[in-house]
Amino acid sequence: MKKSNSNAIFDTIATVIAQKPSGTNAYTLTFECPEIAEAAQPIQFVNIAPVPLTAEGSPGPALDMLLRRPLGFSQVRPEQGRFDVIYQVVGRGTQAMADFKPGDRVRILGPLGMPLTADMIKAQTVILVGGGLGLPPLYDLAPELIKAGKEVIVIAGARAENLLIMDTQQCKLKRPLPDIGETTGFKPFVELGADCVITLDTPAEGFLSGLVTEPLNKYLEQDFDGGLEIIACGPPIMMKVIAQIARDRGVKCRLIMEARMGCGLGACQACVCKTTDGYKRVCTEGPVFDAEDIVWE
């Protein structure tokens, strides 16, 4: 990707350009918002009001849902002044967002959080592990890594085939797994040149089945001369297990953490996650944390 190195954050009004279903109960939203699109860096996120402004710009009936919803960038196109987020409908806010229509104007805060850029990663190979909606932010990061000449392996987990949020295609693995030289991967990652495997809780033809930790463990048995790092994003339980695996194997691991947010700006101390150095703010010190530093509760 990118672009201006300023740390500017904008609290501004973005325009909905498009909204498309991405699998079941999930959507890809495209916003036009040049300032944020230009400032955004990988793994950063935006906080999005779940109800659009009324025609007059007043929050309208949005008083009922005051907090903005944090969503990671799934793709940023600064040259178009646009970016995408992919989200799943899980509660009232994301449900309301599913009603967003092109032309809607939405109050939005970002880019938020500390970026994770290729130069911050020493290892030559990076395994990106995404569970469910943990995948989109990794898709924002992957091109950056590949551009920097790194080997990228994506392990994506989902509950079932109908929940997959991106298009799939056959992926001939450059680094095959035992018995698996070819499998179904996410098209966007495959096209970037990454290896991509998908494991499903509910088995389906052409996909691996089971937990993401199974292919992960198999990869970890291989040799990575240039060093290996794991970056994971997904449900806490998944990340906890991966953190343990990484620690056991002595592999560097970063986690993209979630927390309920108030201000998004580091002011309210709401969005904390427990670390060995006390509670840290996901919106400011995060969202990326060293797996070693996280204290699981």
Binding site: D11, E35, L67, R260, C263, G266, Q269, Y279
Partner: protein
């Protein structure tokens, strides 16, 4: 705006000259520098910032979740996470020096001694104009007990006043049977202003897990949901203490200019803005613009002139 002497929404509260009557509420505006990181933040529209509550010793705060959304409201239980007064005074206060607004420190504690000690340390700083005593936080033991008892409130305020040369503002808890009697004892103890309102103790339960959403089980309710209660409390306290008594800063539920006008008509000389910052970091400028428009629409020249001018039916 600061230079413009015709600024008709400027107010002076307890000797603090403010560009606008808008006061960023403690706990929602950090230590003053976080929110203004947003591009184009207009500090000139902020009358004053009340810093996050500080305590004598560092506090780790409550376990997450620390915030939950409720209908037109927000429930929080941050639990006063802060690095302690010494750290705050040493590292954060100096950052506030040249910012074009005024800063008020907010202190909390579990005993009168603790409040006094913190006040003494803060009183030494040039960066701070006044001290707000948080005797109404539902998320920490001690503070709340003081806030519900007129005698305790009197003792605390007197003790702090004795060590602190700066104006002392007392932040009253709204969830009491009789807020007026507590207001009166603070005045008797020579408080310089009253912050009327804070959060109300509430609870949200996740019906699937059957667990409270907040790590701390209970939290404090803020946001538009409580605004009618704030307006009423401000009016009650203003009626009880009289128009010529110390000024009131209203806290609770203000999210636009109309809300701000409402609490001022009810008797507040300044207006706290907290949760609304979460919805829009520029909210203070929007409200300031709205207040200017209101004055014009009402043919008033000075915002101070509308304070307490509600005409009862």
């Amino acid at each position: 705006m600061t230079e413009n002497k015709k600024n008709d929404i400027a107010v002076t509260i307890a000797g603090i000259e403010m560009n606008t009557p808008l006061v960023m509420a403690s706990g929602t505006f950090g230590y003053g520098f976080e929110v203004p990181r947003v591009a184009d933040f207009r500090f000139e529209d902020v009358g004053a910032v009340v810093l996050k509550s500080v305590t004598l010793k560092p506090r780790t705060g409550n376990k997450p979740h620390r915030i939950a959304e409720t209908p037109a409201g927000v429930l929080n239980s941050i639990g006063m996470q802060n690095p302690g007064v010494e750290y705050v005074a040493k590292y954060y206060f100096p950052m506030l020096k040249n910012l074009p607004t005024k800063f008020i420190a907010n202190i909390a504690g579990e005993s009168t001694d603790e409040y006094v000690e913190v006040a003494r340390i803060i009183a030494e700083s040039d960066a701070i104009e006044a001290i707000e005593l948080n005797i109404s936080c539902p998320n920490v033991k001690g503070g709340c007990a003081i806030g519900v008892n007129p005698q305790d409130a009197f003792a605390l305020v007197s003790a702090v006043k004795a060590v602190c040369g700066k104006p002392v503002i007392v932040k009253l808890t709204p969830g009491v049977t009789d807020i007026k009697s507590i207001a009166e004892s603070c005045i008797a103890a020579k408080a310089d202003a009253l912050s009327v309102g804070n959060t109300y103790t509430g609870m949200v339960i996740d019906t699937h897990t059957r667990r409270p959403v907040l790590g701390n089980n209970y939290g404090g309710l803020s946001g538009p949901a409580i605004r009618p209660l704030t307006v009423c409390n401000v009016h009650k306290v203003r009626q009880a203490i009289g128009d010529s008594a110390i000024p009131i800063i209203a806290f609770g539920g203000v999210s636009n200019a109309s809300d701000a006008v409402e609490v001022m008509l009810a008797g507040a000389s300044a207006v706290g803005v907290g949760t609304a910052v979460f919805t829009n970091a520029h909210i203070c400028s929007e409200i300031a613009d709205g207040l200017r428009a209101y004055l014009q629409s009402q043919n008033e020249t000075n915002i101070a002139d509308i304070v307490g001018t509600v005409k009862l039916n």
